[in-house]
């Protein structure tokens, strides 16, 4: 039996970056990325540049209550582009008592899974929401998700699971990733909250088992995946 050595994917490179100040502008940028010559066309005879393919397997919404969470999560997600490309929406809030504003950075990172393979690219959208808009997470995230792909919410820190804002967001999500090690207080109460979440939304979602995401989650050791759609939610939440 022979084994062939498969080199690891290349480091992701930033191929596109743009700023926007409204959801409509972000949408316009997202469509511009794939229309741009630089991303999509290979010049005849040129061997160094491969066709960029847009390959997303899911929508990943990261709710970062603190800027350092946002950076850390974005860096982790970028590392996963080759293995597990996803449209990532990182939402940060700032100045919750001020007027509403939005600042967005749209990026595309590309990797070559193998040296001879075409490049694959995925988009990351960093959103900073000022004022009250930061409390309406579903309104911000829903317009930006890719249709027909599963939605995962990654919520580092202590998610306020019973708040209306979280409920709206999670009702449209298939899975929730949390980091139980940072929680304070009564962990059991938290688990109960999450179990209730799984119960209430189970009927809405019919995503099948979905192993790729687990491979992705393994890198951030302490996170647990809560599949909102399945009966196992309470069990997998309790396992770590």
């Amino acid at each position: 039996m022979t084994f062939t050595f498969v080199p690891p994917p290349t480091e992701p490179t930033l191929r596109w970056s743009a700023r926007a100040h409204s959801i409509a502008e972000v949408e316009a940028e997202l469509s511009r990325i794939w229309a741009s010559q630089d991303m999509a066309v290979r010049v005849e005879g040129e061997t160094t540049r491969h066709i960029a393919a847009r390959t997303n397997v899911m929508n990943l919404i990261v709710i970062a209550r603190r800027p350092e969470f946002a950076e850390r999560c974005a860096a982790t997600v970028q590392m996963l582009t080759g293995r597990h490309p996803s449209r990532t929406i990182v939402i940060q809030s700032a100045d919750p008592d001020g007027p509403s504003w939005l600042d967005a950075r749209v990026e595309a990172h590309c990797v070559m899974p193998r040296p001879d393979a075409p490049e694959t690219c995925a988009e990351t959208i960093h959103l900073t929401c000022g004022g009250e808009s930061g409390r309406h997470l579903a309104a911000i995230a829903t317009p930006l998700i890719i249709h027909d792909l599963p939605v995962t919410v990654w919520w580092p820190g202590e998610p306020p699971l019973t708040s209306p804002s979280a409920r709206d967001l999670l009702s449209a999500a298939d899975r929730l990733v949390v980091d139980g090690s940072t929680w304070s207080g009564d962990g059991l109460a938290r688990l109960r909250e999450m179990a209730a979440l799984g119960e209430s939304t189970r009927s809405r979602s019919a995503t099948s088992r979905w192993p790729g995401s687990r491979a992705g989650a393994r890198r951030s050791r302490r996170s647990s995946m809560i599949p909102i759609s399945s009966r196992t939610s309470a069990r997998s939440a309790a396992s770590p």
Binding site: S22, I23, A24, E27, L30, S31, R32, W34, A35, Q37, M39, A40, V41, R54, V57, S100, L102, C129, E132, S133, H136, A138, A139, I140, T142, P143, I145, H147, D148, L149, V151, A172, R204, A206, S208, R209, W210, P211, G212
Partner: protein, 561 residues
């Protein structure tokens, strides 16, 4: 053969009355008598065709050069209005800029506000800087385009005004060589359509001339506000113009992906065999808008989602998805098939299991903005019962679609602006992988009309690894990345079609009436029933819960868009 007839060599001489001498020559043929085949042949031989054929440029052969329309004048009624500024004039400018309009072209803009030619051109320039698809403006193209815009101030009920318009156009025909070809574009309030058409007829502007010189009329939507008013308007227009001269615009039909739908279905061999009740479980069509009513409260109060979108855009999309292949790509063949679909559509708006759900948005958050509810908008009754959302379960009772529901929905203040058609295929007949504990999702074909026009096919694939695991993957085709050219605006496509006399993307009189025949009973049922409990959905959500129940009842759900 027993029944063979032998033609006499010469016609039998006519019997002359006894008191008159027999004429030496046979009497001349009556003017309208048909020629015999022999006469016909003899008349043709040795004769040259009466008119010299236009010389074709041989270098053009085989090239896909767009045909430029005939020299013509576009007469735009309601030129000072919003639609003209936002859509019609920018579209004409782009056609001009890309050399798709003839050199002998004139735009006669008619409005009620006082403008000189110069001040109107300046106004249009400002509008173009705001609404043009390509910016900055091309100065040379604009200069030459502006030369061709004239402004006429006129009241639409002013009889004398139309007489002078007629004389004015005749004068222009002579000066600019536009050969009497005229396109009348009605971009006014719908209540004025009938009046303008009647006036045009009164001064004879509808008459097509013998030596070329076509006359066409483009009528904007909404075409009527119910079946009766649509019939009445059709009758008024029909008194003046023949149906072949009438172009009723539904700008959705000019969109690139909508036209591509025809190519996708009938230009490919592999989809049409799967396009029926045997393979399709159901169809979902969403026309979602994230915007509200945008200062058009007074208009929307009288319209509502069912008249504004369901009657025209949504039903047109249903027609294009459900119609049979037409025999030719000819305007009437295409529209015949669409009318057949409309006749087969039914929806029961009454009873507890109504096929129709309506909604109205309350205050909420849409894309990082706090927005007011419908009843709090300007010019809206605080107790308004106007629907801003409508969802329906349509059944099409024909051979192809019997038992396949078409779920359609449209609304204002939904989470995102998205227009999509989804063909949901049936489950596999036999679950081969059930012992492995995996169940692939059924296939889905999604046709996205806006934004990011494209087509997506979803199918199951094995996840690499030692276990058997199936994941849904998608094949995506996006216009933006596949073709590096801009799609034209729907209005550009449609105006060019009208100038070229191609009516396939315009709605015919019977089509409009059939569509109202579907929407009318829905509105009537609402009018007869108890008042609705509005608002029933929060701005920024996918409509009222009843819309979800409409599908849940059949064990289905709306796709996540």
């Amino acid at each position: 053969m027993a029944t063979t007839r032998v033609k006499p060599k010469e016609a039998a001489p006519l019997e002359a009355p006894a008191d008159q001498p027999i004429p030496a020559q046979p009497s001349p043929r009556p003017k309208d008598a048909p020629l015999t085949m022999k006469d016909l042949r003899e008349a043709r031989t040795g004769k040259r065709p009466s008119r010299a054929k236009p010389v074709e440029n041989v270098l053009r052969e085989g090239l896909r050069l767009e045909r430029v329309p005939d020299p013509s004048i576009v007469v735009l009624f309601g030129a000072t209005g919003d639609l003209a500024h936002r859509k019609v004039i920018p579209a004409l400018y782009h056609l001009w800029r890309t050399n798709l309009l003839p050199h002998e072209f004139m735009l006669v803009a008619i409005g009620r506000r006082p403008f000189s030619d110069e001040s109107f051109r300046a106004e249009i320039h400002t509008a173009l800087e705001k609404y043009s698809r390509v910016l900055p403006l091309d100065t040379d193209a604009w200069e030459s385009f502006a030369q061709r815009i004239d402004y006429l101030q006129m009241d639409f009920d002013d009889a004398a005004g139309f007489e002078s318009l007629s004389a004015y156009l005749d004068k222009h025909d002579k000066e600019h060589g536009t050969h009497g070809n005229r396109l009348f574009y009605l971009a006014t309030q719908p209540s004025q359509f009938a009046e303008i058409v009647a006036q045009l007829g009164r001064v004879g502007l509808d008459h097509e001339l013998h030596e070329g010189g076509w006359r066409r009329v483009v009528i904007e939507k909404p075409f009527g506000h119910d079946l009766d008013s649509a019939k009445r308007l059709n009758r008024e227009v029909g008194k003046v113009f023949r149906e072949s001269q009438v172009y009723r615009i539904d700008h959705y039909l000019g969109k690139e992906t909508v036209r591509n739908l025809l190519v996708f279905r009938f230009g490919n061999g592999i989809f049409e065999p799967l396009w029926n009740r045997r393979y399709v479980d159901h169809v979902q069509i969403t026309v979602g808008e994230s915007i509200g009513i945008e200062n058009r409260g007074a208009f929307y109060e009288q319209t509502g989602a069912s008249r504004d979108v369901l009657q025209n855009h949504l039903l047109q999309l249903v027609c294009l998805v459900a119609m049979e292949p037409p025999a030719t790509f000819d305007a009437n063949a295409l529209r015949d098939e669409k009318v057949k679909v409309l006749r087969a559509i039914s929806a029961d708006p009454t009873g507890p299991k109504s096929d129709v759900v309506r909604g109205q948005y309350g205050p909420g958050w849409v894309a990082a903005n706090n927005v007011p509810g419908y009843r709090q908008e300007d010019d809206v009754d605080p107790e308004s019962e106007t629907e801003t959302f409508v969802a329906a379960r349509l059944t099409i009772d024909d051979w192809r679609w019997s038992g396949v529901p078409f779920y359609v929905r449209t609304g204002k203040r939904l989470p995102k602006r998205a227009t999509e058609i989804a063909i949901q295929y049936r489950d596999v007949p036999h679950r081969l992988f059930k012992d492995e504990g995996v169940e692939p999702d059924p296939n889905l074909l999604a046709i996205r009309i806006q934004p990011d026009e494209g087509i997506m096919l979803r199918f199951g694939a094995k996840v690499p690894g030692l276990r058997l695991d199936i994941r849904s993957v998608t094949m995506d085709f996006t216009y933006g990345s596949a073709f590096s050219v801009d799609s034209p605006d729907a209005y550009e496509t449609l105006i060019l079609d009208a100038l070229q006399g191609d009516a396939s993307l315009f709605t015919r009189a019977d089509e409009v009436e059939e569509a109202w025949d579907i929407v009318d009973p829905i509105i009537n049922a609402w009018a007869e029933g108890p008042p609705p409990t509005f608002p029933n959905y929060e701005a920024g959500t996918w409509g009222p819960e009843a819309a979800d129940e409409l599908l849940a009842r059949d064990g289905r759900r709306w796709r996540r868009i």
